[in-house]
Amino acid sequence: MTPEPFFFLAALLFSIALVGVVSRRNLFVIYMSIELMLTSTSLVLVIFSKVLGSADGSVMALLMIAVIAAEAALFLAMIIHLYRRNRTLDSEMCDELKQEANNA
């Protein structure tokens, strides 16, 4: 079996996750989309590990899983914090960095 279907799967997964990040406003969905993107990257690493016959890619994927775990902890903590503050899961409520209209 050739690696091409795997590459296509990784690209497709990444793209679907990217669409999720861009088009959705629910913080949980955004979080999960990001996780999917990370997973698709680790999939690419694993494929390359097999393509090159080297363990480095697999090790990187392993470390990546650890990073995903760390990211999950922080991201979920932040979502909970934001929900407590704003009483909503809408990402559009977090717009304090925007350009104020009056001091343009």
């Binding site: 990040v21 717009d95 925007k98």
Partner: protein
């Protein structure tokens, strides 16, 4: 030694200026007088030491202070050169300058700006010495500019009066016009020499590499500079207005510094002008025209200082006739003798003005012969000298110039010069007779003149009477010692002695005629000229030159400025720039819309960018 001569007046100017600014309560202090006179005096002594050395060995002295500009072949050093010409110049400049300083100490006594005056005065001296001793055209230009600056400061010295400021501005701006020509000439000279050294010696050595066209252009442009500085047609109108300054300033400008700079410059570039006799002829014609023109205006002027100003312009015309016709040493000789009697005339005028409590109209003076004997005698000598009566100084130098004009067969110039000599005698004696002989009012009290004013006058009177003998030519039993010492590249035409005697006799006769006419008209009951004929009116109104310049240059310039200030600048330039800035603001507002603060929007923007880039790469790689 040379650098000391130049630097000393600058240092004292700086010191006096600092003192004046830091201690304004220190009025008329002795220290101003002491330092202000000492620095030109020391410069004078040093100049004479250099002069004596020059007598002994005849070598040109060089001295480099430091390297100023060092860009490839463009090497300009702050360096001084004392050859025969510049040594003679600095000698009489410092001598007469010192005498005028002493005189000024008396004249300016009691003035609240005494210290400032001496600071400017020393600056003026230093600038002129820098100009004369400069080793290269660039340094000469620096001195040239500094002379313009200090003349501006001094003409506008009584800056409380608006008219004085106008006069100072006029002098400065007209000098700018001349400087424009001068600096272009320097640049052209440098470019066309193609980097083969830029000191006067190097230029003189390489001058033959230049084509005649280049030389003509450079010579003409240099002369434009000289026109401005030396008040020749058409850039002379500042000179009469420059009388707004204190009288010692006029004496310094007209005798030792500034106006002679143009003549000196032409003599300094004599190696260049020798190659282009056509330009020289042009210079001579301009000089002749200026001489006649100024003499005519002086004839109907009634302000004592303005008469002297026009006479200076007229005498400068003589000098330019000489240098234009290639008689450089005669021109410099006239500069030399003229410095003596013109300084003396201005000192006398200043003394009369002071004695009469600032009265400047010669027809309101009269009968001062008995009251001011010293002033009378010295002014009389100076008048004889300027009118060209032998054996006074002016006779020999003027005669040499007229001889040069006659022998080079430019009889038109010679005739103009002769007629101007007649006018000179006429208007100078008109001044003398009106001021000293004619009846004056009896019930006036004269102000006492301090000795510091009268003693330099006596000294200069002695000089005016005798310095002419330095240049006594062979026809009169001398050896033209002065001219030979200068050793400039003169164009010599042989004339027989009998011709010389005839010419001399003719000019003396003419001068005596002018003197006699003026005695008949003004010795007893002088009257200001009435403008009853159109010709007289024309001359009294100074040929309407000021008005002409006003209509031709000043008014259009003002109109143009107003146009630019009210229409072009705010409506077009500003509008363009403001419009540009406004469009940036609008653009900024537009882009600010993109900054919503919402992460999703940023992600979308990133996605759009990434998408476009991906499409581009795909097309580039030929995958789509």
């Amino acid at each position: 030694m040379l650098s000391l001569i130049v630097v000393l007046p600058f240092l004292s100017a700086l010191f006096l200026g600092g003192l004046y600014l830091s201690r304004p309560q220190l009025q008329n202090s002795f220290i101003y007088t002491a330092v202000g006179i000492a620095s030109p005096a020391i410069s004078a002594i040093l100049s004479f030491v250099v002069l004596l050395r020059m007598f002994a060995d005849g070598n040109t002295v060089y001295e480099t202070l430091f390297q100023w500009i060092d860009i490839g072949s463009f090497q300009i050093a702050v360096a001084f050169m004392a050859d025969r010409l510049s040594v003679v110049m600095i000698s009489f400049i410092t001598l007469i300058g010192t005498l005028i300083h002493i005189y000024a100490a008396g004249y300016m006594r009691g003035d609240p700006c005494y210290g400032k005056f001496f600071s400017y005065f020393n600056l003026f001296m230093g600038s002129m010495l820098l100009l004369v001793l400069a080793d290269n055209p660039v340094m000469m230009f620096v001195g040239w500019e500094l002379v313009g600056l200090s003349s501006y400061l001094l003409i506008g010295f009584y800056h409380q009066d608006h008219a004085n400021i106008t006069a100072a501005n006029k002098a400065f701006i007209l000098n700018r016009v001349g400087d424009f020509g001068f600096i272009i000439a320097i640049a052209l000279l440098f470019v066309s020499l193609e980097g083969s050294g830029f000191t006067f010696d190097a230029i003189a050595a390489n001058i033959s590499t230049l084509s005649t066209e280049q030389l003509t252009l450079i010579g003409l442009l240099l002369f434009v500079g000289a026109m401005g500085k030396s008040a020749q047609i058409p850039l002379y109108v500042w000179l009469p207005d420059a009388m707004a300054g204190p009288t010692p300033v006029s004496a310094l400008i007209h005798a030792a510094t500034m106006v002679t700079a143009g003549v000196y410059m032409v003599a300094r570039y004599s190696f260049l002008y020798v190659e282009i006799p056509d330009v020289g002829l042009f210079i001579a014609y301009i000089g002749a025209a200026s001489a006649l023109f100024a003499a005519l205006m002086a004839t109907f002027e009634s302000d004592i200082k303005k008469i002297l100003a026009y006479s200076t312009m007229s005498q400068l015309g003589y000098m330019f006739i000489a240098v234009g016709l290639g008689a450089y040493s005669s021109g410099i000789f006239h500069v030399f003798t003229h410095a003596f009697f013109k300084a003396l005339l201005f000192m006398g005028a200043g003394a009369v003005i002071i004695a009469l409590h600032h009265e400047q109209n010669i027809f309101k003076m009269g009968a001062l012969k008995k009251a001011l004997p010293v002033v009378y005698v010295s002014m009389f000598i100076a008048t004889l000298a300027i009118s060209g009566i032998p054996p006074f100084a002016g006779f020999f130098s003027k005669d040499a110039i007229l001889m040069a004009a006659f022998s080079s067969e430019h009889y038109d110039i010679w005739a103009v010069g002769l007629f101007t000599a007649f006018l000179t005698a006429f208007y100078m004696f008109r001044l003398l007779f009106s001021v000293f002989f004619a009846e004056g009012s009896k019930e006036r009290t004269l102000q006492e003149l301090p000795g510091s004013m009268t003693r330099p006058m006596l000294f200069l009177a002695l000089g005016s009477a005798t310095v002419g003998f330095l240049g006594l030519n062979e026809a009169f039993g001398g050896h033209s010692w002065f001219q030979h010492f200068l050793s400039l590249p003169d164009v010599v035409h042989e004339v027989s002695h009998s011709q010389e005697y005839m010419l001399a006799a003719l000019s003396v006769a003419v001068a005596l005629m002018g003197m006699g006419l003026s005695y008949r008209m003004f010795a007893h009951n002088p009257q200001a000229a009435k403008s009853d004929q159109w010709l007289k009116t024309l001359i009294i109104k100074k040929f309407y030159v000021d008005e002409l310049y006003d209509v031709m240059l000043v008014k259009p310039l003002l109109l143009l400025s107003r146009l630019i200030a009210t229409v072009i600048d705010p409506k077009i330039v500003d509008a363009l720039i403001m419009g540009l800035s406004k469009s940036y603001l609008l653009m900024g507002r537009g882009f600010a819309r993109l900054q919503t603060g919402r992460v999703g929007d940023y992600a979308l923007q990133i996605l759009i960018g990434v998408s476009l880039m991906s499409t581009y790469i795909l097309f580039k790689l030929g995958m789509m």
